[in-house]
């Protein structure tokens, strides 16, 4: 069980949250897209081995979405931050794992 720091409610059990995959994927301009750009927006999400900035929603608490750095190999939790705010630096500190 992960303990996840909700920016609004503090440290809570993983079972209070739903997962939302990669954070910070901007909504594209649908009129300016090729089919393959649109497919990329719809279906491709980062899947790195290492630190990942991802979305969670605290459905059993405040009900709000936020972003979180988390390591997909060690399950270590990094800083949480609010959507549309500046993303904290990756805890990897330049020692990035394999990207995917």
């Amino acid at each position: 069980m992960l303990y996840i720091p909700c920016p609004h409610c503090g440290l809570r059990n993983e079972t209070e949250f739903h997962y939302g995959a990669e954070a910070g994927v901007a909504y594209p301009d649908p009129n300016a897209l090729t089919d393959s750009d649109w497919a990329k927006y719809l279906h491709i999400r980062a899947n790195p081995k290492g630190w990942l900035a991802e979305r969670w929603v605290h459905f059993a608490g405040c009900g709000r979405w936020f972003n979180l750095w988390r390591n997909t190999v060690t399950h270590e939790i990094g800083p949480a931050y609010l959507p549309f705010t500046e993303q904290p630096k990756s805890p990897a500190n330049g020692q990035e794992g394999l990207k995917a």
């Binding site: 790195p48 081995k49 060690t74 995917a100």
Partner: protein, 420 residues
């Protein structure tokens, strides 16, 4: 005693260890990688080994290496719950999984290797009116595709599985089930060993403990792989890496719509045989069978988040055990002996990707998610065809990577999403 042979096998120090069993014979040759191969398969799990075997057997290509980062079948191949069936909803899936099931039916003879393949049937329970409707829809689709599948009433379910609780007085009562009699289980590590032995006998090199760290790609054409043992040249390369498919695709310069998630399973200690078929329930999130030795084998859904850690949260185990206990009250006496996790490669439509990549002569077989074991023979068969001929087999044409651009998704969340 001859003191010169103290380092020989079977000798410990100066005392002959007479009680130790003989070392089993090696099933496949241990080799050092050659400088070049016609074909390199990245990933020594069931699907990769089956691909190598069918390349040799069906296409006469034997200058092949299977390169495995860890040990043979150390990933999902020996971490799954070994369920085999073909009763998928859509025609494309039914065709490839049924092809696979037909191969299973003669696999032990084909490979000359026992793997405890047991067609003990697979029950998929329905727990609500809408569940009954969707299961029956699946059943009719199966009938149209010539796949054996029948509807059982709760009483018929009880007759087949006497230990099941069909009381109406529970949270998720059993309202019936689909039953595929030809479904079943097999001993998963033996499946990998059988393929490895048969492929090795045909001349395939199996290279363990060697990680692929990059691809040698020139003019958008793959020329070989960089590994922890140096660069190995190759005419063609097949990526069959399950949970690490995104990582490999990224090394080759393209993206795949895959998320890697932990999927856990567990076994009980050895018990007397009480369950002679496979029981699955998507609604209560559990699937269970009893292995030949007697351990109950159980699995459920994936953990929620992306991970490469081969472990998950215990609350997922608790959830599936709660479901199992409601269905099988007798299991309250059993204990959990061991739990583990594998990293499954989940696609947006819960269907695999098998075919060409944006890089010439580089092929991909990935995205089997939570249900790849049952597809091992069929997956290897069509992947071998795709690599050997450079074009997809009829059966894997619909599973191309470009379906995510064309929109021709094969949505198997109903048949595949939770239960395997």
């Amino acid at each position: 005693m001859n003191t010169n042979d103290t380092l020989a096998p079977g000798i410990i120090g100066r005392r002959r260890a007479a009680a130790l069993p003989e070392q089993p014979p090696q099933l496949w040759k241990s080799v050092k990688p050659k400088k070049a191969y016609d074909i390199i398969i990245v990933g020594g799990g069931g699907h990769g080994l089956a691909t190598a075997y069918y390349l040799a057997k069906n296409h006469g290509l034997t200058n092949i290496a299977v390169v495995e980062k860890g040990w043979l079948a150390g990933g999902n191949t020996a971490r799954n719950t070994t369920i085999i069936r073909s009763n998928y909803l859509w025609d494309e899936s039914a065709a490839i999984y049924e092809h696979s099931l037909k191969l299973w039916e003669t696999l032990e003879e084909d490979l000359g290797y026992e793997m405890f393949f047991s067609q003990r049937g697979v029950l998929t329970l329905a727990h609500s009116v809408s569940d009954v409707r969707s299961k029956k829809r699946n059943l009719y689709a199966n009938a149209l595709n010539g796949i054996d599948s029948e509807w059982l009433t709760p009483e018929e379910v009880k007759k087949l599985v006497p230990i099941i609780n069909i009381s109406e007085d529970v949270r998720y009562p059993v309202h019936g089930a689909t039953y595929q009699p030809r479904g079943g289980i097999a001993k998963h590590d033996w499946v990998a060993w059988g393929y490895a032995k048969a492929a090795s006998d045909l001349g395939v090199d199996i290279i363990q403990g060697t990680e692929v760290t990059g691809f040698d790609i020139r003019n958008n054409k793959v020329q070989g792989v960089h590994t922890s043992q140096g660069t190995i040249a190759a005419g063609k390369v097949g990526m069959v890496a399950a949970g690490h498919s995104s990582v490999l695709a990224n090394l080759a310069g393209f993206s795949v719509p895959i998320q890697s998630r932990p999927l856990q399973a567990l076994v009980s200690p050895l018990l007397e045989q009480v369950l002679n078929t496979v029981v699955m329930s998507g609604a209560v999130h559990v699937y269970v069978s009893q292995a030949h030795k007697g351990e109950l084998v159980m699995g459920a859904g994936t953990d929620a988040f992306n991970s490469y850690a081969q472990r998950g949260g215990f609350h997922v185990i608790e959830h599936q055990l709660a479901a199992a206990l409601e269905l099988f009250p007798i299991f309250s006496r059993a204990q959990v002996l061991r739990t583990w996790g594998g990293i499954v490669d989940v696609c947006p439509d819960a269907s695999p990707i098998i075919g060409l990549t944006p890089v010439e002569n580089l092929f991909i077989n990935a995205g089997w998610g939570t249900g790849g074991f049952k597809a091992t023979p069929g997956s290897g068969w069509v992947m071998a065809h795709t690599i050997a001929t450079g074009t997809p087999h009829e059966l894997n044409k619909p599973f191309a990577l470009d379906r995510f651009v064309t929109g021709h998704l094969i949505d198997e969340h109903g048949a595949a999403g939770v239960a395997h």
